[in-house]
């Protein structure tokens, strides 16, 4: 079923399911959607259901009706249209079936990038079975835990790019004649933490395999650099 969502200052005031063939909007009490605001005319606009379409008509209001910021006399509504009446915005939400049908027949331009304003966001989030925020996976931060008796202990990877090597500028400083100034780097990337061999004679091994390029790290992968040995894991942190 199609719905109209009345909002003011990006706050949802009330939701109106489209129950009748015609809905009126205005200041007078006998409108379907009553907006008690001086910017709104007594009988400001009407929305009619004609077949599968919904059409908004301005009832010669003083301040006019606007669809997506464009002044209209009469206009067919599309899913997601904003109808501006005075200072209130009414969001038109088509029925689920209609959205799917229009998407298939190409009537809704799904290629168009849309901004998600507060109202639409609420609307879309409400459609989720569970609100995404509640089930969002906790953020994880990478930790390397030295298991070689080098007394380096656990090191949290606080940087986007962690350099490991002999150089003083390394976030994790390791010694050794053959250790590279930067022997390896661990970078936090969209796919996760990735370790890369960077230089020096000392080999980089992950789970016993020599790494010449880079490899995406999984929890409890064992990393070796010369006589150093450490494990990687993701630690949950509060967002």
């Amino acid at each position: 079923m199609a719905r109209l969502i009345l909002t003011f200052n990006k706050q949802v005031i009330k939701e109106y399911p489209f129950l009748k063939d015609s809905v009126t909007i205005g200041r007078e009490d006998d409108n379907t959607i009553v907006i008690a605001n001086l910017a709104v005319s007594g009988y400001h606009a009407r929305i009619d259901k004609t077949g599968n379409d919904f059409i908004v008509t301005d009832l010669q209001s003083t301040n006019g009706s606007f669809v997506n910021n464009k002044k209209v006399v009469t206009q067919k509504l599309s899913h997601g249209d904003n109808i501006l009446i005075g200072k209130h915005i009414i969001l038109f939400v088509a029925s689920e079936k209609k959205i799917q049908r229009d998407a298939k027949s190409g009537k809704i331009d799904l290629g168009k990038t849309m901004m998600l304003d507060t109202v639409k966001q609420k609307e879309l989030l409400k459609k989720q079975k569970t609100p995404p925020k509640a089930v969002r996976a906790p953020e994880k931060i990478g930790v390397v835990s030295f298991i070689d008796g080098s007394s380096l202990g656990d090191i949290v990877l606080r940087k986007k790019l962690t350099k490991i090597g002999k150089a003083d500028t390394s976030e994790i400083k390791l010694s050794g004649v053959f250790m590279g100034a930067t022997a390896a780097t661990i970078s936090r990337r969209p796919a996760g933490y990735t370790i890369a061999y960077a230089g020096g004679i000392t080999k980089l091994k992950v789970n016993g395999e020599t790494v010449r390029d880079s490899v995406l790290l999984k929890d409890f992968d064992t990393i070796e650099l010369g006589s150093y040995k450490f494990q990687f894991y993701g630690k949950e942190v509060k967002r």
């Binding site: 997506n68 910021n69 464009k70 959205i99 799917q100 998407a103 809704i108 331009d109 799904l110 290629g111 168009k112 990038t113 849309m114 901004m115 998600l116 304003d117 639409k120 966001q121 879309l124 989720q128 995404p132 089930v135 969002r136 996976a137 008796g149 606080r158 940087k159 986007k160 790019l161 004649v177 053959f178 590279g180 100034a181 930067t182 780097t185 970078s187 936090r188 990337r189 969209p190 796919a191 990735t194 890369a196 061999y197 960077a198 230089g199 020096g200 004679i201 000392t202 080999k203 010449r212 390029d213 880079s214 010369g226 006589s227």
Partner: protein
Amino acid sequence: MRIKASGITDVGLKREDNEDSYSKEDSLGLYVVADGMGGHLAGEVASRVAVEMINKSVRKWLEEEAREDELFGPPDNSLTLIGNYILSSIRMANRVVYEMALGHEEYHGMGTTVVILYVTPSLIIAANVGDSRIYMVRDGHLERLSKDHTIVSEQVEMGTMTEEEATTSPLRHILTKNLGSSETLEPDIFEIEPSDKDRLVLCSDGLTDLVSDDEIFEMTQKNKDPSNLCRKLVDTVLQRGAHDNATIVSVFLSGIKTGRGGPINKMGSLLADFVTGIRKVIRI
């Protein structure tokens, strides 16, 4: 380090205006693509202003060698100083576009995506807001260096939607973040070490809507020249209907010296293995 870069933008076959903007500054190693949105010409304004602001502020801070406390907003300690330049430039561009949108009725509701690539011989920085992307081809693999800020990609991350469902979902173009629609903005920024022969592609969704990651990977590997690659990608978009503006900037790196490889290194690593072995034995 040598950089060869090329950029192209095409209005496509369905839209009247091109709301995308891009910049290519080889001298700085700074590349930006932005995909604007908003009525009339507002989308075009938003993307152009964002690209200009980011270029101007990053250039200024680099020249002045600005300190972290001279930037816009609190520094992010997980980033390098230049990473913070990029972060601040995005925050600043966001504030400018946001205030323009508030102050002018014709710009009301405008915004833009943005992807930024910054390359030096020792560092690659990738930053993004929205659904424009940065791809990197390295060692025969394609990797994304950007995170889509869309409802569907968040759902994919949460595991409530598959990648496949995401590409056809009616919600796939709804952004959860964009530059210009709120007073503050925190982009995603990644920093990685460069590697010789890295190839990077920045693009708006006009490309990624019609060309798959696998195809982008294949074409990026095949084309020897960044301008050929841009042309080839745009031609593919046009052949497939080009329902949106498409913008592509490709950046090919070469001559990056790393400590990798080399015969001395190989000899040395044999010796290193030997020494490591002895050290392990001694410890036991």
